[in-house]
C-alpha cells in the first residue's frame, strides 16, 4: 500500500527582546540561575504584567515575514495549569484572537518547490526551567526563562514528509534570523518544534488519527523522530492494527531512538482559557504595521535568486551562503570590496567555513574583515603570494588584527618575482643537478618539472612558480 504522511508543526520561538514580556528583567541566556527575576516574573502576589512593546513589534514582523494578516485587535488570555516552573499557575498567551493569522512559507525540498500554510502566530510568555537532581529527592527551579516573550507559529497540516518538515523548519529559521526576530538556537531552546503526524493511504482525502511529538532538540532529531513515528504508524496500518494509533502526545527519546507515550487525549489537560483581565486588548495601528513592514530585510528566497542571477553562483553554492544571513553578508561585502564573486564564494564556502567550524565561531562573529579577504584575493591574483601561502595568511587573519600585507611581511611569505634572485637560484639548481640536465637533453622533458620543483623547494615555496618555470625552460634551452 502506498502511504502519504501528513505533518503539521508548532514552533515556539523566543523573541530577541532585551527585556522580558511583562517586566524589565533581562533575557540573557548565560546568567546565573534566578538572576534575571523580579516580583513580576516570579508572580508574587499583587504584581501585574505590563506588555513589552518590542515583543509585539517582533511578533508583527514575524507575521508579515510569514505572509500573515495582522489582526488590528488581539487579546491576551490565561492558560491555567499547575507546574512549579509556571510561577502564576497560568501562562499569559493568546487563544481566541491571535496577533497574526493565515500565512504561508515557500521552501525547497530536494529540488521540489513546496509551500506550507501558516494557521496562526500568537504571542505568549515562556515558563521557567526545572532542574532534576540525580542523587537527591528534590528538584530546583530556575525562573530566568519565566516571562521571556515567545511566538508560537502553527502550520496547517501541509507537510508531507519528515525531510520536508526539516526543510520547512530550516527555511523558517532563516526567515526569522534574517528579520532578527530570534536567534533561533535550537540547542539553547530559543527555537523549539513540536510536530503532529499521521499517515493515510495515498489518495485518501480525510486525515487519520494524529500523534503529537515533543522534545526534538535539533533538525536531525526532528527528522529522526518523524521518521520513527511515520514507520511505527505505517507498520500498524499494514498489520491491520491501526486502532492502536490513538490521539496522544509522545515524547521523542533521542538516546533510545524511539517515541514514548506521554498522555492521551483523555488525559489532555483542561486549561480553562479565559481573557486576561490584567491586560487591555492589543491594538495595532495601521501606520505601525507600515513602519514594521519597512524594517523587513531581503528574505532568504529573494537573496538566493539574486545571488544566482547577479553573481552567477550555482544554486547549491548560493543556498549555503544564504542559509546563514551573516555568512551571506560577509560574502556580499567581500564582493562589494572588489573581489570576484566566484573567487569570494570559493573562499567563503571553503576555507572560511572550515575555520569557523573548527573554531566553533558563528558567522555573526567572523573576526576577519571582508576587506581583508578581498585584499588577500587581490594579492594572490597579482602573484604577490602563492595560493598556498594565501591560505596560511587567511588563517592568520583570524588570530591577529593585522592586514594581509603585514602578515605576508612578518612571515616573509611574499613571492619572489625578482628575475635577478630567481635566475641565481635556477642556475644553482641546474649546477647541482647535472644528471637531471642530462636526462632532459636525452628528451625526458619531465626532468624540467623536477628542476622547477627543486627551485621552489630552495626558495621555501616563495618563488613565483610561473616565472621559475619560464626561467628553467630558458636556461635549459640556452645550455
Amino acid at each position: 500500500m502506498d502511504f502519504e504522511t501528513v505533518i503539521g508543526l508548532e514552533i515556539h520561538v523566543e523573541l530577541s527582546t532585551r527585556s522580558k514580556m511583562f517586566c524589565g528583567c533581562s533575557t540573557e541566556f548565560e546568567s546565573a540561575p534566578n538572576q534575571n527575576t523580579c516580583p513580576v516574573c516570579l508572580g508574587l502576589p499583587g504584581t501585574l504584567p505590563v506588555l513589552n512593546r518590542e515583543a509585539i513589534i517582533l511578533a508583527v514582523k514575524a507575521g508579515l515575514a510569514l505572509n500573515c494578516s495582522i489582526n488590528r485587535k488581539s487579546k491576551m488570555a490565561r492558560k491555567n495549569y499547575f507546574y512549579p516552573d509556571l510561577p502564576k499557575a497560568y501562562q499569559i498567551t493568546q487563544n481566541e484572537l491571535p496577533i497574526c493569522s493565515g500565512g504561508y512559507v515557500e521552501f525547497d525540498c530536494e529540488g521540489r518547490h513546496c509551500k506550507a500554510r501558516i494557521n496562526r502566530v500568537h504571542i505568549e510568555e515562556d515558563a521557567g526551567k526545572l532542574i532534576h537532581l540525580e542523587d537527591q529527592p528534590c528538584s530546583l527551579v530556575d525562573y530566568n526563562r519565566a516571562g521571556i516573550p515567545l511566538i508560537e507559529i502553527v502550520t496547517e497540516p501541509d507537510i508531507r514528509s519528515p525531510l520536508e518538515a526539516v526543510s520547512f523548519l530550516r527555511t523558517l529559521k532563516a526567515i526569522l534570523e534574517y528579520c532578527e526576530i530570534s536567534d533561533c538556537r535550537m540547542e539553547q531552546g530559543s527555537l523549539r518544534c513540536d510536530a503532529n503526524i499521521s499517515v493515510r493511504p495515498k489518495g485518501q482525502k480525510g486525515f487519520n488519527t494524529k500523534v503529537e511529538l515533543k522534545n526534538m532538540n535539533s533538525f536531525r532529531e526532528l527528522q529522526k523522530a518523524l521518521e520513527t513515528e511515520e514507520k511505527r504508524q505505517r507498520e500498524l496500518y499494514l498489520a491491520g492494527e491501526e486502532y492502536r494509533i490513538i490521539q496522544e502526545t509522545r515524547r521523542w527519546d533521542a538516546a533510545k531512538g524511539r517515541t514514548i507515550p506521554m498522555r492521551s487525549k483523555e488525559e489532555a489537560r483542561e486549561y480553562r482559557y479565559f481573557p486576561e483581565p490584567d491586560l487591555l486588548p492589543v491594538t495595532i495601528q495601521e501606520d505601525v504595521i507600515k513602519r514594521i513592514k519597512e524594517t523587513i530585510p531581503e528574505l532568504p528566497a529573494q537573496k538566493l535568486s539574486r545571488f544566482v542571477g547577479e553573481y552567477k553562483l550555482n544554486q547549491s553554492e548560493a543556498e549555503v551562503l544564504v542559509s546563514d544571513k551573516a555568512l551571506s553578508e560577509f560574502f556580499e561585502s567581500t564582493v562589494k570590496e572588489g573581489a570576484h564573486p566566484k573567487t569570494a564564494a570559493n573562499w567563503v564556502l571553503g576555507d572560511l567555513l572550515r575555520i569557523l567550524n573548527e573554531k566553533k565561531i558563528s558567522a555573526k562573529n567572523i573576526p576577519v574583515k571582508p576587506s581583508s579577504l578581498c585584499q588577500l584575493i587581490g594579492l594572490i591574483e597579482k602573484g604577490v603570494i602563492s595560493n598556498t601561502a594565501g591560505k596560511e595568511v587567511f588563517r592568520e587573519l583570524f588570530e591577529s588584527g593585522k592586514s594581509p600585507e603585514e602578515i605576508i611581511e612578518d612571515k616573509g611569505l611574499s613571492q619572489i618575482s625578482s628575475e635577478d634572485v630567481l635566475i641565481r637560484l635556477v642556475r644553482q639548481v641546474i649546477e647541482e643537478n647535472p644528471e637531471s640536465v642530462a636526462s632532459f637533453r636525452k628528451g625526458k622533458t619531465q626532468a624540467a618539472g623536477y628542476l622547477v620543483g627543486q627551485v621552489m623547494k630552495a626558495s621555501r615555496g616563495k618563488a613565483n612558480p610561473k616565472m621559475v618555470k619560464e626561467l628553467v625552460d630558458k636556461e635549459l634551452a640556452g645550455l
Binding site: L42, G46, K88, R272, P277
Partner: protein, 482 residues
C-alpha cells in the same frame, strides 16, 4: 485634644500649624489601638516602630521648613491585601501568614509620598471573600457600634478601625461591595472608585476585572482628600487610566446639589430589603430633593441578574489568581509531602479557608470547557448589558441612588448558613463593580436599635466628583452624630 473627633484634614492642619507633632499624634493613635483593638480586632499587624519613625521624618520636615505632603502626619490603616514593603501582608489567610512583600503597592507609595503614617494592616475576610470578616483565618473583627455584631466585609477591619477612632482614615478594597458594605455597617464613609482610577499594583488579586482600592473616612471631605492622593494612572498597572479625569473634588463640595439629576431604580427596593433601611434611604432621597436635586424613579431590570454574573466572573478570576499559592515559592508549605502533586494539594487544602475553596471550585467549574460558554460567557453578556443600561441611565442622570446592604449589621455567628443567602449581601453593590463605575457609601441614619445605615450613590465612570458633591451635601444636611 481628643483624637476621637479629628479628621485627617484637621490632623494635617494641626501638624502644619505646630499645634501638635506628627509623633504625638501617632503615639496617641497607637495607644488608642492598644487599649481598644483587643476588643475590636481590626488589626492584624500594628506597625509601631515604622509609624513612629515615619512620624519623626514628617516632624523633621516641618522643622526644616520643607513643604509638607497633603497627608502629613495622618495615621492611616491599610487593608491586609495591599502590599507594604517589609511589612507582612497576609490577606488574612494562613497561606500568606508570613508573606513579607519586597515592594509597596502604588497606593502605599502615594500615601507615603504625601507624608502619611502607615499605622498597621487591617483584618479582612480571607482574600476578600466574605461580607462579615468572619472568614479571616486569624480572628473576627467586631463592629464598634455594637460589638456583638459583625463590621461587614471584606474590608471590615479598615471600616472598624475608622469607626473605633483607631485611625482617622484607612484603605480598603472593593470587588463586589467590600468597601461600601462595611462602611454602611460601621457608620463611616467608604468609596469604591471607578475601575482604573486607582492603580491595582500591589493589591493582591481576587477578581482582577472588578478589584478596586478605595478610602474609608469619617467625613466626605477626608474621603475626597484620600482619593485625590491615591488616584491616577500608573505604569505598573496596564488597566489604570492615563487619560483625563475630573480631579477637583473638594471645590465642588459646597453643600449644594442644585440641578443634580438623581434616579432611584425600583429594583433596589425589592422584598429582601430591610424595612428600616428602605425608609432611611427614601428619606435621604427626599432630603436631596429638598436641597434642589431632581429625583426620579426608574427601572433597570438587568440589576436582578447581576449578582449571579458577579459571582461567576469574580470566582472564575479568583480561581486563576489564587493558583499561584502552591507552596513552592512562598507562603504556606506542609511539613511533609510525598511528591509534587501532594505538595500542591496539601498546601492548598491546609492553608485555604472554606469560603476560598468554595469560590476556587466554583470558578474552576465555570471556566471548564462544556460550562464556559453557558456560565462564563453568559455572565460576560449580562455584564455587557448592565454596562449599556448604566450608560443609558447616566446619559439622563448624574447619580443612581439606592441602599448599600439589604440588611442591618447582623450578630456575629448569625450569617446565613446557606452560601447563596450569604452572597445576597452583595446584591446592591456588585453592579457597580461589574460596570466599573464609582459608588460611595455614606451614613444616612440609624435603625431603631441604633445601628448605622448607609446610602449608596453611584456615578458614571470617572464621575466621582458628582457623588462626592451629593454625599457631602447629605452629610451636611443630616449632621449625624457618628
Amino acid at each position: 485634644m481628643s483624637i476621637g473627633c479629628m479628621s485627617a484634614e484637621g490632623i494635617r492642619k494641626g501638624i502644619a500649624d505646630g499645634k501638635f507633632s506628627a509623633e504625638e499624634i501617632t503615639v496617641q493613635y497607637l495607644e488608642r489601638i492598644k487599649s481598644k483593638d483587643s476588643e475590636i480586632g481590626a488589626f492584624i499587624t500594628i506597625c509601631e516602630e515604622e509609624s513612629i519613625k515615619q512620624a519623626r521624618t514628617v516632624d523633621n520636615k516641618r522643622k526644616k521648613g520643607e513643604p509638607l505632603g497633603r497627608l502629613a502626619g495622618v495615621p492611616i490603616a491599610i487593608k491586609d491585601n495591599i502590599c507594604t514593603n517589609g511589612i507582612r501582608t497576609t490577606c488574612a489567610s494562613k497561606m500568606l501568614e508570613d508573606f513579607i512583600p519586597p515592594y509597596n503597592a502604588t497606593v502605599v507609595d502615594r500615601l507615603i509620598m504625601e507624608d502619611a503614617v502607615i499605622l498597621g494592616k487591617t483584618n479582612m475576610d480571607e482574600f476578600g471573600m466574605g461580607s462579615s470578616n468572619e472568614n479571616s483565618a486569624f480572628k473576627i473583627t467586631r463592629n464598634p457600634r455594637d460589638t456583638g455584631r459583625v463590621p461587614g466585609g471584606s474590608s471590615g477591619g479598615s471600616a472598624a478601625a475608622v469607626a473605633a477612632d483607631m485611625v482617622p482614615a484607612s484603605l480598603g478594597s472593593d470587588t463586589g461591595g467590600s468597601i461600601r458594605q462595611p462602611a454602611a455597617f460601621c457608620g463611616v464613609v467608604g468609596l469604591k472608585p471607578t475601575y482604573g482610577l486607582v492603580s491595582r499594583f500591589g493589591l493582591i488579586a481576587f477578581g482582577s476585572s472588578l478589584d478596586t482600592i478605595g478610602p474609608f473616612s469619617k467625613t466626605v471631605r477626608d474621603c475626597a482628600i484620600l482619593l485625590d492622593v491615591i488616584q491616577g494612572g500608573d505604569g505598573k498597572d496596564s488597566t489604570s487610566h492615563t487619560g483625563h479625569y475630573e480631579k477637583d473634588y473638594i471645590h465642588c463640595m459646597d453643600g449644594t446639589v442644585e440641578g443634580l439629576k438623581i434616579c432611584v431604580p425600583e429594583e433596589f427596593f425589592n422584598e429582601g430589603l430591610d424595612r428600616e433601611i428602605f425608609q432611611l434611604v427614601k428619606k435621604s432621597a427626599e432630603i436631596l430633593k429638598d436641597l434642589g436635586a431632581k429625583v426620579e424613579e426608574v427601572s433597570m431590570p438587568v440589576i436582578s441578574q447581576s449578582l449571579p454574573a458577579f459571582y461567576i466572573i469574580s470566582s472564575a478570576e479568583a480561581s486563576s489568581n489564587l493558583g499561584r499559592y502552591d507552596g513552592i515559592r512562598y507562603g504556606y508549605r506542609p511539613e511533609e509531602y510525598e511528591n509534587l502533586d501532594d505538595l500542591i494539594e496539601k498546601s492548598r487544602t491546609e492553608a485555604f479557608g472554606d469560603e476560598v475553596k468554595r469560590r476556587i471550585m466554583f470558578g474552576t467549574c465555570v471556566l471548564t470547557s462544556g460550562y464556559y460558554e453557558e456560565y462564563y460567557v453568559g455572565a460576560l453578556k449580562i455584564r455587557r448589558i448592565l454596562c449599556d443600561q448604566f450608560d443609558e441611565l447616566f446619559s439622563k442622570y448624574d447619580i443612581i441612588l439606592g441602599p448599600v446592604s439589604p440588611v442591618l449589621p447582623f450578630k456575629i455567628g448569625e450569617s446565613p448558613k446557606n452560601p447563596i443567602d450569604r452572597y445576597l449581601a452583595d446584591i446592591y453593590t456588585a453592579t457597580a463593580n461589574l460596570a466599573g463605575i464609582p459608588a460611595i457609601s455614606v451614613p444616612c441614619g440609624f435603625s431603631s436599635e441604633g445601628l448605622p445605615v448607609g446610602l449608596q450613590m453611584m456615578g458614571p465612570r470617572f464621575g466621582e466628583k458628582r457623588i462626592l458633591q451629593a454625599a457631602y451635601a447629605l452629610e451636611q444636611a443630616l449632621q449625624l452624630k457618628l
